[in-house]
């Protein structure tokens, strides 16, 4: 009887170990599937043009890595300009967005005024409007204002986000009322209270919003494609598409991959530094489904 019990226990332990082993195999397999494209793009970018094209069977490593493709990426196509454009676009859009959403979130969270409830309901319902519906008119509007191929035209429609107003409002509301009342007694104005108390307290949320917006800006493709046809105003996404279709010549894949690596690196660094914040922010209300 006693022996039997031991055997059952041992069997269970073995089964558990086998299961855990299989589990790890499965997880490692998926990790490889996720990481492999990144490995392949770095690897291809380090192969020389002639080496790459002479490999009928692709090689999984290279013994003669070269950086010449990176030189090509910056000299043969205006990659540096695409890069600079994207940085300008990202910084200005994100900055303007903060200027717009912080007061709005503050008004909804803290101020009392007539029509607030109605305004908030309307804001919320706007969250359900897909971008595809409004982009058509925006395209026509920007074209009629002669703002195509300008940063103004690129930036303006991307400035507001109802979702971030909502996220920030929820955060602002968690700051205790007592703080506000005390500040009022001290004669602090609403604006001072916002800048000196609320913004510092909500810094973690604000940082999360900034990071998510930066990712969104860096990857935006559709609107820039519609609104720019002058390569001087291309962002990296459009740049990479341009490189693919007219860049180094269709077959210079190593140079193309070098450009892809250069474009991907900033966000990957951002991710490595802030991955906890980014993941927490996305799980609180992800945008990309």
């Amino acid at each position: 009887m006693n022996l039997d019990f031991k055997r059952v226990e041992r069997n269970a332990a073995v089964r558990k170990r086998v299961f855990t082993g299989l589990d790890y195999c499965f997880l490692v397999l998926w990790a490889i599937l996720v990481l492999f494209p990144f490995y392949w793009m770095v690897l291809s970018s380090l192969k020389s043009y002639s080496a790459y094209n002479s490999e009928y069977i692709p090689q999984f490593f290279t013994l003669n890595p070269t950086l010449s493709n990176y030189v090509d990426a910056f000299t043969a196509v205006p990659l540096a300009r695409y890069f600079l454009n994207t940085i300008i676009y990202t910084v200005v859009t994100t900055g303007l967005m903060m200027v717009v959403i912080i007061p709005a979130a503050f008004a909804f969270a803290r101020l009392e005024f007539k029509g607030k409830q109605l305004a908030f309901t309307i804001f919320l319902s706007l969250m359900m409007i897909p971008n595809e519906l409004v982009i058509i008119t925006n395209f026509v509007t920007i074209t009629n204002l002669h703002l195509r191929n300008t940063f103004t035209g690129l930036i303006l429609p991307s400035v507001t986000s109802v979702f971030y107003i909502y996220l920030l409002k929820e955060n602002f509301e968690q700051i205790p009322d007592e703080l506000y009342k005390a500040a009022r007694v001290d004669g602090t104005t609403d604006f001072e209270y916002l800048t000196r108390v609320m913004i510092p307290i909500s810094k973690p949320t604000l940082v999360t919003i900034v990071i998510l917006k930066v990712i969104e800006c860096w990857n935006s493709y559709v609107w820039p494609r519609l609104i720019t046809d002058n390569p001087n105003y291309f962002l990296v996404s459009n740049g990479i598409q341009e490189i693919r279709e007219n860049g180094f010549g269709r077959e210079n894949i190593p140079a193309m991959m070098a450009a892809v690596v250069v474009i991907s690196v900033p966000l990957i660094i951002l991710f490595l530094v802030f991955h906890k914040k980014i993941m927490a922010g996305v799980s609180r209300g992800g945008l990309k489904g």
Binding site: L126, E132, G289
Partner: protein, 298 residues
């Protein structure tokens, strides 16, 4: 009087947001409806010669649109269940381990922050067959004795496969993240009680885990449907900007092609197509919500 001043201040704080939303969201929303009913709209002279349903009729009879609808529906029907299913498996796998869990989670989330266009190019190269090389994926197919296929310029099913594969790869991080946090938030007491009763594992899964995370699964299905119906940049990344020529256009791609590019200049047709898409997505979301009301444990 004081009350009034406060009202004004509230609206003043909202003013920038209202201005931007008004110009770039509310006005366009009304305008897109107007466009879709204006027949024969000319974007150069900004004139039209009638009001009616012609734009809708045109779009619904356009073979490119029908192709786009077919592609989009296939993409949705394949990728939503597949990605949700695999994400559930991976999250369960993650939930069962302790060491390295954070590392795996971080790795799995990486595709979320990458540029869809840029990484799509890598996928294109992996799957493409050129004069110089069959490409890596075809090499692997040949290892297992299969025939190589050009996934980028080849048969329709092959192109569809790559598109679905890449879409799943792109949407996975979000789903894994949501499901792992859902699994982690199930009250461990339920499991302890089940263990005391010697409940078999599959029963624990179907009777405790699944019901507890079902709201999140439905959330993912709904957002998955919405996201997949809007697929566009993944297809561009793989097949280039001329999606009609590749036969791989999506509904959103059709809208943009009507607006701009070689076939562009028809905001009315674009508006009609966008509204058709909106109605499709709205209907399916409502159906999803109805189903979830019945089946989701609360």
């Amino acid at each position: 009087m004081k009350m009034k001043k406060n009202d004004l201040k509230g609206w003043l704080y909202l003013l920038p947001a209202i201005l931007f939303l008004g110009v770039f969201m509310v006005y366009p929303l009304i305008d897109v409806l107007v466009y879709s009913f204006e027949e024969g709209y000319n974007s150069a002279s900004q004139t039209y010669h009638g009001i009616g349903l012609y734009n809708y009729a045109y779009v619904l009879h356009d073979p490119y649109f029908l192709q786009a609808v077919r592609n989009t529906f296939l993409l949705v029907i394949i990728t939503v269940p597949v990605s949700t299913g695999i994400a559930l498996l991976i999250s369960l796998g993650l939930n069962a381990i302790k060491p390295l869990r954070d590392l795996f989670q971080t790795i799995y989330f990486l595709p979320y922050v990458t540029n869809t266009l840029a990484v799509g190019l890598v996928f294109m190269i992996l799957f493409k067959k050129t004069a110089y090389t069959d490409g890596l994926v075809n090499l692997m197919i040949q290892w297992f004795g299969g025939q190589s296929v050009d996934f980028i310029d080849g048969p329709y099913w092959a192109k569809m496969f790559v598109l679905c594969f890449y879409t799943v790869w792109v949407v996975m991080p979000f789903k894994i993240l949501i499901l792992t946090s859902a699994l982690a938030s199930v009250n461990p007491d339920y499991y302890s009680v089940a263990r005391l009763d010697a409940t078999p594992n599959w029963r624990i899964f179907t009777k405790i885990t699944l019901p507890m995370i079902s709201p999140m699964i439905f959330y993912l299905v709904i957002t998955g449907f919405i996201g997949a119906f809007k697929a566009y940049s993944d297809a561009v990344a793989l097949f280039g900007t001329d999606l009609n020529a590749a036969g791989m256009n999506t509904i959103v791609g059709y809208v943009y092609d009507m607006l701009y590019g070689n076939s562009g200049g028809y905001p009315s047709f674009a508006s009609a197509a966008a509204l058709i898409l909106f109605v499709i997505v709205l209907t399916i979301t409502c159906v999803n919500l109805l189903i979830s009301k019945k089946h989701v444990y609360r």
